[in-house]
């Protein structure tokens, strides 16, 4: 058999069939007999004591079955879990799913209604009476840590949840008499993940069997956490993630609504459904990013980095959710980027505010870190009048130096930053663009050209359990797969990963087809249901392929090992002489004597003639716990045209050369990069969760929170270099977050680069036309290509 290898082929996705015909099984599509609808009343204020909640009138509304306050659930609802106590003395406040005494962010649930349909439930919310005694909103992290600041959790006596420190090398020596020191303060604005499918939950209880369908990324973790919070025995609870419409981290969570729907189903003995509206979602889905970064970099006069100091304030929001405190700490391992240095310190304080809790959002800690270091590298280049690529070249780990132990304590197994950068500059036509830039500067063109560089790496494949243990994370980072060989030779693969758009059904079938030598069409992939896939750690952190894919690879090998024994027996040969290729077993030196894997599986099923003591099954499973992270990297280049009169920045070209190791499906990889770029660019240019002075979220709808549309994004040019990971047999690294991590600094660097002649050293994100315009006006007038134009409004320049 000479079938072309599946791994590496651009297979069209098998999951598309249902998605393009409207036959998808979204959670909100689920109908059960007698299903009731749930609606939550949410706090309209940032911070207040609840003095009274009266749900009586709501109960009387037509179609209403029940209405409850937080107090009605006080004995039962427990506290939402935080699985990552990053320090021993971390302040971890109680987090009741429905607020009982106090609300601490606008959007926090305060009461719940159950009714015959969603309209009746929504109507009844209006009849609930809540009295709030307003408390001070705590919105500014730097204010929040001052002596005597108003407190988010008054019983804790502080707004600081933790301080976490990492130190390596002699940082004082690195900064002492350093020829160059760059100090910057950058803001990572707050973002709303905005998966297109709003969250939804359906719960049913039959006897003592509980079933939850949830639009979640983490059915397995969710089951364990719900069992822990509610006391429902784990084996009585089945969690199903049906088709899930995107997550980006926002569905890596244990949410109030999930806990309460489960408790409602139990209390009422009826199935319930809750589907969020976008505007309640914007306020209650966890947010991402939100850091103040204070950075200092010391370098030699030739641009070589001596040391880096990172001091972060990370906004936790009002509570610590599943991995809230740990997210910014992932940045500790990434702030050093691809660069060598002698000393490094990382300090992060987690701060409470009366805002929606933050947690993982695509990239989770690594985009923030990459932004910081890649912005600093551009500043360093500017300071020394070096090309930004040259300053990077002088500092990056060269391809001969791998494996390389970084200052942050990781071992980068492989990479080739030179190759990716060479390819990117060539595709970009770097020199020609630099020439055009010089020319536009020369003639004082009102439309200036900027070139932004980002040579990034990231850590994927979360994660070695032993590393997670050393970081006090509450679980391991393994993944599970099992392979069932059916009598007819068709194969079912069960994976603990839980895809929600990533295309696992296709990619996992490709891996299986290659490893077992069966046709792609003969493999079916099952996932996302604890009843079907009993073990798993789910999908986030670009881990599925690098951990789950490897588990599958190993499970396939076990199938082959078992089948080999049967083949040897049937071929009357020694097992050592059996060769396996292309789905066929043969005896070495006797090529005409073969048995196909399908024949072996049928023989195993029949079990008439098996080796002595052989258990009649080829089914195998494997749990893979990686030894190390994987480290995708790449070089992204962005050319932007900035209209200095309007402040409008338009991306003219964007080149992404990514090295994600071996590629299973190039189509899927490219799609992941595109989508990642869109989200990273969105942070640079468009998106921001905004709170007003009272602590109300003003970006509650899609009209206010600007997810880019097709006209807001450019056409990307993507390419790859391929340096296989050496730490797993597939050589894969992961791709889900790369585009997001790399693109934000590339875009901002390009805008700042365009505006250097105006004395602009930074533009805060998102770089809206107004902010860009103000930054230009805030620069020195001697830099203005149109002298005398700097007056008027622009002279305020405050925001930049």
């Amino acid at each position: 058999m000479t079938a072309a290898p599946e791994i590496g082929s651009a297979r069209l996705r098998s999951e598309d069939a249902k998605l393009i015909t409207g036959q998808t099984n979204w959670t909100d599509n689920i109908q059960l007999p007698g299903l009731l609808h749930v609606a939550f009343l949410r706090s309209p204020v940032s911070h207040a004591r609840i003095t009274r909640v009266d749900v009586e009138a709501a109960r009387q509304r037509p179609g209403v079955v029940a209405a409850f306050s937080g107090a009605d659930f006080a004995d039962e609802q427990g506290s939402l879990p935080c699985a990552w106590p990053v320090t021993e003395d971390m302040v971890l406040p109680d987090h009741p799913p429905i607020a009982v005494d106090e609300v601490r962010y606008a959007g926090e649930p305060v009461a719940v209604v159950v009714a015959r349909d969603r309209y009746a439930a929504a109507d009844a919310l209006e009849a609930i009476d809540v009295d709030y005694e307003t408390l001070p909103a705590v919105l500014d992290m730097e204010e929040a840590i001052k002596e005597g600041a108003d407190l988010v959790h008054s019983d804790k006596g502080t707004n600081q949840s933790y301080e976490w420190v990492f130190e390596a090398g002699d940082i004082d020596a690195a900064f002492r008499d350093a020829p160059v020191v760059i100090e910057r303060r950058y803001i990572q604005q707050r973002l709303i993940p905005t998966a297109m499918e709003p969250r939804a939950v359906v719960c049913s209880v039959v006897g003592d069997e509980y079933t939850m369908w949830s639009a979640t990324q983490i059915p397995h973790i969710l089951r364990l956490m719900l069992a822990t919070v509610t006391g429902i025995p784990e084996h009585r609870l089945r969690v199903i993630a049906p088709d899930v419409g995107g997550g980006f981290g926002s569905k890596l969570q244990v949410y109030s609504e999930e806990v309460i729907c489960l408790l409602l189903a139990r209390r009422l003995g009826r199935p319930v459904k809750w589907t969020e509206s976008r505007s309640e979602g914007n306020a209650s889905v966890h947010h991402g990013r939100d850091q103040i970064q204070r950075l200092s970099l010391a370098a030699e006069a030739d641009g070589r980095i001596r040391g880096l100091k990172v001091d972060l304030l990370a906004d936790m929001g009002a509570y610590l959710m599943l991995v809230t405190p740990g997210v910014p700490l992932l940045g500790a391992f990434m702030f050093n980027g691809i660069y060598k240095m002698d000393a490094y310190t990382f300090k992060c304080a987690g701060i409470f505010t009366t805002k929606t809790p933050t947690d993982a959002y695509r990239g989770a800690g690594r985009p923030e870190a990459t932004f910081g270091i890649e912005r600093l590298m551009d500043e360093l280049a500017n300071e020394l009048s070096l090309d930004p690529l040259e300053v990077r070249r002088r500092n990056w780990i060269t391809h001969e130096e791998f494996p390389y132990d970084t200052i942050a304590g990781l071992t980068y197994d492989s990479g080739n930053y030179e190759a990716a950068t060479d390819k990117a500059t060539e595709l970009f036509d770097y020199d020609a663009l630099r020439a055009e830039q010089a020319e536009r500067r020369e003639r004082q063109d009102p439309v200036q050209l900027g070139i932004g560089v980002s040579t990034f790496t990231e850590m994927c494949g979360l994660a070695p359990s032993r590393v997670l243990g050393s970081l006090a994370y509450g679980a391991g980072g393994w993944e599970h797969a099992s392979v069932r060989v059916l009598p007819s030779g068709k194969v079912e693969v069960v994976t603990g990963s839980s895809a929600h758009g990533q295309g696992h059904e296709t990619a996992w079938a490709q891996i299986t087809a290659d490893r077992l030598g069966v046709p792609f069409e003969d493999v079916r992939v099952l996932h996302g249901d604890t009843g079907i896939s009993p073990k798993g750690m789910d999908t986030y952190g670009s881990r599925s392929l690098a951990v789950g894919g490897v588990a599958l690879y190993n499970a396939c090998d076990k199938v082959v090992e078992k089948a080999k024994r049967v083949a040897a027996h049937l071929l009357e040969a020694d097992e050592k002489d059996i060769e396996f290729a292309g789905g066929s077993f043969s005896v070495r030196g006797v090529p005409d004597q073969t048995r196909s894997i399908q024949e072996i599986s049928l023989a195993t099923f029949a079990a008439h003639d098996l080796p002595e003591g052989f258990e009649p099954s080829l089914d195998s499973d494997a749990t893979h716990d990686p030894d190390n992270f994987s480290f995708p990297h790449g070089t992204h280049l962005c050319a932007v045209e900035v209209d200095t009169e309007t402040g409008f920045a338009k991306i003219r070209s964007y080149i992404a050369v990514d090295d994600v190791g071996k590629v299973v499906n190039p189509l899927i990889v490219e799609g992941q990069v595109h989508g990642g770029l869109a989200q990273g660019i969105a942070q640079a240019l468009y998106e921001e969760a905004v709170y007003d002075a009272d602590g109300n979220l003003t970006t509650t709808t899609m009209a206010d929170y600007l997810v880019p549309s097709a006209t807001d994004l450019p056409t990307f040019t993507t390419d790859r270099t391929e340096t296989p990971a050496t730490t797993n047999p597939l050589g894969v690294k992961g791709v889900g977050e790369a585009g997001t991590i790399a693109s934000t600094p590339a875009v901002v660097n390009s805008i700042v680069d365009a505006l250097r002649p105006y004395g602009v050293a930074d533009v805060p994100m998102p770089c809206t036309p107004e902010r860009v315009w103000r930054a230009i006006r805030g620069g020195g007038p001697e830099h203005s290509p149109r002298p005398g134009a700097g007056g008027g409004l622009g002279s305020a320049g405050g925001e930049a």
């Binding site: 069209l12 996705r13 999951e15 598309d16 069939a17 249902k18 998605l19 393009i20 015909t21 409207g22 036959q23 998808t24 979204w26 909100d28 599509n29 109908q31 349909d117 969603r118 309209y119 905005t194 998966a195 297109m196 499918e197 709003p198 088709d243 899930v244 419409g245 995107g246 980006f248 509206s277 976008r278 505007s279 929600h500 758009g501 990533q502 295309g503 189509l667 899927i668 490219e670 799609g671 992941q672 595109h674 989508g675 990642g676 770029l677 869109a678 989200q679 709808t701 899609m702 009209a703 997810v707 549309s709 097709a710 006209t711 994004l713 056409t715 990307f716």
Partner: protein, 164 residues
């Protein structure tokens, strides 16, 4: 309660509905036509796009009663039951979807776009789909899929007709 009489994907329905019932909820909750998803509450995302008498509308911004006497085509009514519509085929071939949540609305909006402009440029596709948000794909493959589908539909206009 007002009565609506509406044909959805070739099937006739007569129902009493609350005057405020949105077409999107009528389709999903009353008729079980859940192929059309809902992504927002401000008519921004376009996930709920359907054709109403051949013109694309966001079904979350139309009342069920406004569809009275009209013809609704949803994603479920595309293709001929076995084969895929050229747009569905192109979305598949160009990997123009990941999670697929935006896809039904995107395809229905694209259908209307191609009806008005059978040979759109990249920029015209981007502008024509501005009211449909996708969080996964970055749009590039969607643009290519729509242009390819438009090409296929120009080749065999009969297939396009079959969807009306």
């Amino acid at each position: 309660m007002p009565r609506v009489s509406v044909e959805v994907d070739g099937v006739k329905y007569d129902d009493d509905v609350e005057p405020r019932l949105l077409l999107a909820h009528y389709l999903r909750d009353r008729l079980g036509k859940v192929g059309t998803p809902i992504g927002c509450d401000t008519s921004n995302c376009g996930a709920c796009t359907v054709l109403l008498d051949g013109m694309s509308v966001k079904s979350c911004s139309v009342l069920a009663v406004q569809a009275d006497g009209k013809d609704v085509t949803t994603i479920e009514g595309l293709g001929d039951g076995h084969g895929l519509h050229p747009l569905q085929q192109a979305f598949h071939e160009e990997h123009a979807l990941q999670c697929g949540y935006c896809t039904p609305g995107m395809i229905m909006a694209a259908l209307d776009l191609i009806r008005e402009n059978p040979d759109p440029s990249d920029q015209e596709v981007r502008e024509g789909l501005e009211g449909n948000l996708c969080r996964c794909t970055g749009y590039q493959n969607i643009v290519r899929a729509v242009r390819n589908a438009a090409g296929a539909m120009r080749q065999s206009p009969a297939q396009e007709e079959a969807t009306r």
